[in-house]
Each structure stands twice: as structure tokens, then as C-alpha cells.
Amino acid sequence: MAASGSGGGSRADNGYGSQQPRRRKGPGALATAYLVIYNVVMTAGWLVIAVGLVRAYLAKGSYHSLYYSIEKPLKFFQTGALLEILHCAFGIVPSSVVLTAFQVMSRVFLTWAVTHSVKEVQTEDSVLLFVVAWTITEIIRYSFYTFSLLNHLPYLIKWARYTLFIILYPMGVSGELLTIYAALPFVRQSGLYSISLPNKYNFSFDYYTFLILVMISYIPIFPQLYFHMLHQRRKVLSHTEEHKKSE
């Protein structure tokens, strides 16, 4: 879910008055070098996924079932985003650990607990919808971070990051919701990840109900994040306008 450019509000290098004017010491030189490498690797990884999608499309001639061609890099690089939680925990990235964890975990949940686990949904078109949304967002986001860390941020990347989400975020969310919805009957049928009473530890878990709850949780969370990003956009892009005018 976390999707297209969300969390941009609280991520690194987005200062611009979104936080209190505290004196924060930035990451040291070694941490910066590591972060640059991390972001470059992630950008490259998502570019690989993008290229893989395009090649598969051209080879097959249709856009159905393209998931299989990029399955492995998608899993690898999306799971790699878990490192970002550690970055926040160790303080080299000035973001809230809880917020980042929430966003990354929701992505990882969708990749592994829905798309990987319920094999029947892998042929759905909704999977392509969110994979494309994620790919474009992540390429722009990681290159944004790379350039910010190196203090040479081209306006185009900043503009792209704070504008494209307007389309990509709803696109990603739709893809995710449709995928979960498609997975529901198969989960019900196979009793995937579900435990029922009676059992020795008196515990029960119904994955089907859990998925429905996840879908419902999108309703309060998505608008909040979306409007937060719109607000950020107004702040960041207008700030740059002023900056340019003053120069």
C-alpha cells in the first residue's frame, strides 16, 4: 500500500519546513556514502524490473501475465526495502521508524503474503497495475534520494517525485485492492494461514477476515496519505519557485 511516493512527507532531505526547525546533525560521511550506494543499487534494481517488464511485453505481445518475468527481482528489491527501517532506527535517515516500518511492511505484505502465497492471483491484471505503479515511483524516489545526498538534485526529479504520485498513488492502491479481492476466494477455499479452534494453545486466526480488514483499513489511511502528499507538493514546489525567483 504505502505506494507511490507516500512517506515522502517524512523522508530524508525533504526538510523545507515540514519539521520543526531543530538542529539535526546529518549522517556522517561514512553513512552518507553507504546511503548513496544503497539508493543507487535500489534505483538500478527497479530499473531492471522496468526493463524486464518492457522486454516481456514486447516478446509476448500482450500485457497479461507479465508478473512471472519480473518475479525474482521484484521480490528481492522490494524485500531489500526493509533495510530502510534499520536506517531510521540507527538515525542515519531522519524519518520516523514507525511510519517507515508501516509503509515497508505493507509493501512486503503484498509481495509475499498475497501475491506469492496465493498463486492463482499471479495471472491477474491488477498485479501488473500495482507493479508498474511501484516501479515508476521507486525509480524516481531512489534517484531523488541519491541526488539529494549528493546535493545535486535536478528540478525534474523533484518535480516528478512530487507530481507523478497524483496518478501513480491511486493506480497502485487500486491494483493492490483488486489483487487482495481476487485472492479472497482462494484463501477461503484453502484455509491459507488460518488456525481454528480447538487447539492446544487456544488461538484462532482467520486469514480471510484479516484480508478483509486490511482492505477496509485502506479507507481511512489512503486519503490521509494522499492529501499529505498534496500538501507536501504545494510546500516543496512553491518553495523552489520562490527560491528561483530570488536568485
Binding site: 479452534l197 492446544k200 494453545y201 488461538f203
Partner: protein, 363 residues
């Protein structure tokens, strides 16, 4: 000077004699007093004590600005220098009735820390006008209300599940199944725990009169009430499976639970007594009561006993959700114990050095 007066006094004396000779007894006194008073009055400029003559109380003015908009909300004037921030807050409340003192957060600078109520006004002043920034801390509730609400909820919710409402459980199954005694015991223990907490809140604990934002109460209640619903659902379920080691496991766990409850109670009583008698100057010492002997090993035995209660309850019912709840309580209590332990280390260094925070020897 003196000489000049004498004839005057004599003149006056003659007048007095003329007016009322009846006061012959006090006449002498009056005369001598009159002489003395004339002497004093005519003495002219005496060297007056400087303090008495030139002292004047400087009142302070406190200007209160809104932190976000920097607009002035009001000016509290005629603040005597010996008053505290709480007095200023009361005056502010009189001027603006919707901001009662516990809801007001005042800072010296825009993003600085909130000032304590006990701070003296004079220590803040650099001139006779003090500028403070105001933040609304939100709706506040007293600690007693907070705890009463938090503990009454679980008590009632568990009982709702215990009586097996038809909306929660399938009625057919409910009437058919035999209920293992551990279910009744669990209900008894759970209620005992929360009744004890409620009674202690009402009669034992002495709260420092502070307040806490309403949001905290909602969060706390959501946590406790939510988890109680979850655990009560499984323990009272018709398909509940009793513990694997049978009666031995249940009795042992129940005994441990009761001991931890008793221990917790005695520790709270000891701490309250200490608070009451005002002897906060030394670390609470163990008494003849064996439950308080934990003070020798640990600096926060009340948390130890609480954690012990919940772990025994988990073992007694052998229910995973209770285990998860106990785990979360352990984390929460450890954080609180660590904070308190650090405070104790600063205050009572030599005694507390070898003690653990919550679990003897280990942590």
C-alpha cells in the same frame, strides 16, 4: 528649638488647666506625653531608615502569546514577584475561562520545553514584562478518573464473555459443553486482579494531583479493553482446551498468581505509606513482610509482581493471546522500570547500585 516650645507648652498647659481641672490624676501623664509628642514633632528631619521610606513592590506583567500565530491572547498584570506559574495560570483562567490551568502549556520560547507550575515568576523575568507562549494541551483528565475507567472496563468485559452472551458464542455449543474448572478459576483470578487495582486506586494510591491528556486515556483504554475482549473470548469459548499438564499446572500457576497479587498489593501499600509520611528521602526498605523483601533485590518490585501475575495467568490458562498480552506488558513494564531505576540511581546511589531494575539479577 526646645526653648521656643517651652512657652508654647506652658500656654497650652494653662488652657488645659482652664478647660478641665477635673483630670488631675492623668494630668501629669498627659502633660509629659504632650511634651514628648511636641518634642518629637518639632525635632525636624530625623535620619529616616532608607528601606522603609523608598520600598515599593514591583509587579510583573505576563504577556501570553499564542505559540502558533504569535498573536497576543491576553496580558496578566499585577503579578506579585513571589507568585508561581500556577498563580499566573489561575489568573489567565479568570481572564479566559475556557483555558483551565491543567490544560495550559506555557513556554519561554517558541519551541522550548514546557515550564513547570512551581517555577517562581521572578526567576523567569528579565524585565517587568514577561512573554510566554501558550499551547493548548488538550482536554485533561485526572489520574484517578483515568485509572478507574481503565480498570473497570476489563472487569465488566470479561464478565460479559464469561456469562456467554448468545451474540458472541453459538448457543447450542455453549449449553452442550462442559466447562473445565480452570475457566471458572481464570474468571475469578482476572476479576480479583482488576478489583484489587480499582481498590488500590481509590484507597491506597496517592496521586500527585496531576492530569493527563484525554488522548492518553483513550489509548490506554483501547489497549486494555481490546486485549481483555480478545483473551476473554478464547478462555470462555465452548471449544476451550484446558492446559496440557492438567491440575498440577493449574494449581501451581494459580498459587503463583495469588502470591504475585499479594506481593503487588503489599508493595503498593508500602510505597503509599512512604509517600504519605513524606520520607521520600530514602529508598523504600523491606519490612517484616516477606513480600517486601524483593526490595532488597530489585528497585521496582511492583512491576515484577505485575509481570509475574500475568505470566502465571498465561500458564494457568495456556492461551496464546494471553501470552501475547503478557509479552506486551513485560515490554511496557520493563521500559517503566528502567526509567524509574535510572531515577533511583541518581537519587539514592549507594543503596541502589547492586539492585536490578525489575527482574532480580538479570534486569
Amino acid at each position: 528649638m526646645h526653648r521656643r516650645q517651652k512657652p508654647g507648652a506652658l500656654e497650652h498647659k494653662r488652657d488645659l488647666a482652664a478647660h478641665g481641672g477635673a483630670l488631675s490624676m492623668s494630668h501629669n501623664d498627659t502633660r509629659s506625653f504632650f511634651n514628648f509628642s511636641q518634642l518629637v514633632l518639632s525635632a525636624g528631619h530625623l535620619k529616616s531608615p532608607p528601606v522603609l521610606k523608598h520600598s515599593k513592590i514591583t509587579y510583573f506583567e505576563v504577556e501570553i502569546l499564542d505559540m502558533q500565530s504569535k498573536k497576543q491572547i491576553c496580558i496578566v498584570d499585577k503579578v506579585p514577584p513571589s507568585s508561581t506559574l500556577l498563580d499566573v495560570k489561575h489568573k489567565f483562567h479568570k481572564a479566559c475561562p475556557q483555558w483551565y490551568p491543567s490544560r495550559v502549556g506555557l513556554q519561554l520560547e517558541r519551541n522550548g520545553p514546557y515550564l513547570k507550575d512551581s517555577i517562581n515568576i521572578q526567576s523567569l523575568a528579565v524585565s517587568s514584562i514577561i512573554t510566554l507562549y501558550f499551547t493548548d494541551l488538550g482536554q485533561q483528565v485526572g489520574w484517578t478518573t483515568f485509572f478507574l475507567t481503565e480498570y473497570t472496563g476489563p472487569l465488566l468485559i470479561y464478565l460479559l464473555f464469561y456469562i456467554r452472551l448468545s451474540t458472541i458464542y453459538d448457543q447450542v455449543e455453549s449449553t452442550k459443553n462442559f466447562r473445565h474448572p480452570v475457566v471458572h478459576l481464570a474468571c475469578f483470578c482476572h476479576c480479583l486482579h482488576y478489583i484489587r487495582h480499582l481498590l488500590e486506586t481509590l484507597f491506597v494510591h496517592k496521586f500527585s494531583g496531576g492530569h493527563t491528556p484525554l488522548k492518553n486515556m483513550i489509548k490506554g483504554c483501547a489497549f486494555y479493553w481490546g486485549f481483555t475482549s480478545w483473551i476473554a473470548y478464547y478462555i470462555n469459548h465452548p471449544r476451550y482446551t484446558p492446559p496440557s499438564f492438567g491440575h498440577r499446572q493449574v494449581s501451581f500457576a494459580a498459587l503463583a498468581f495469588l502470591m504475585c497479587e499479594a506481593g503487588n498489593h503489599f508493595i503498593n501499600v508500602t510505597l503509599a505509606h512512604q509517600n504519605h509520611s513524606g520520607s521520600k528521602a530514602c529508598f523504600p526498605s523491606p519490612t517484616y513482610n516477606p513480600f517486601t523483601w524483593l526490595f532488597l533485590l530489585v528497585s521496582c518490585p511492583n512491576y515484577t509482581y505485575e509481570v509475574g501475575s500475568w505470566i502465571s495467568f498465561t500458564v494457568m490458562t495456556q492461551t496464546l493471546p494471553v501470552g501475547i498480552f503478557a509479552f506486551l506488558m513485560v515490554i511496557q513494564m520493563s521500559l517503566w522500570a528502567q526509567k524509574k531505576h535510572k531515577l533511583y540511581l541518581k537519587r539514592f546511589y549507594p543503596e541502589v547500585r547492586r539492585k536490578a531494575a525489575m527482574i532480580p539479577i538479570i534486569f
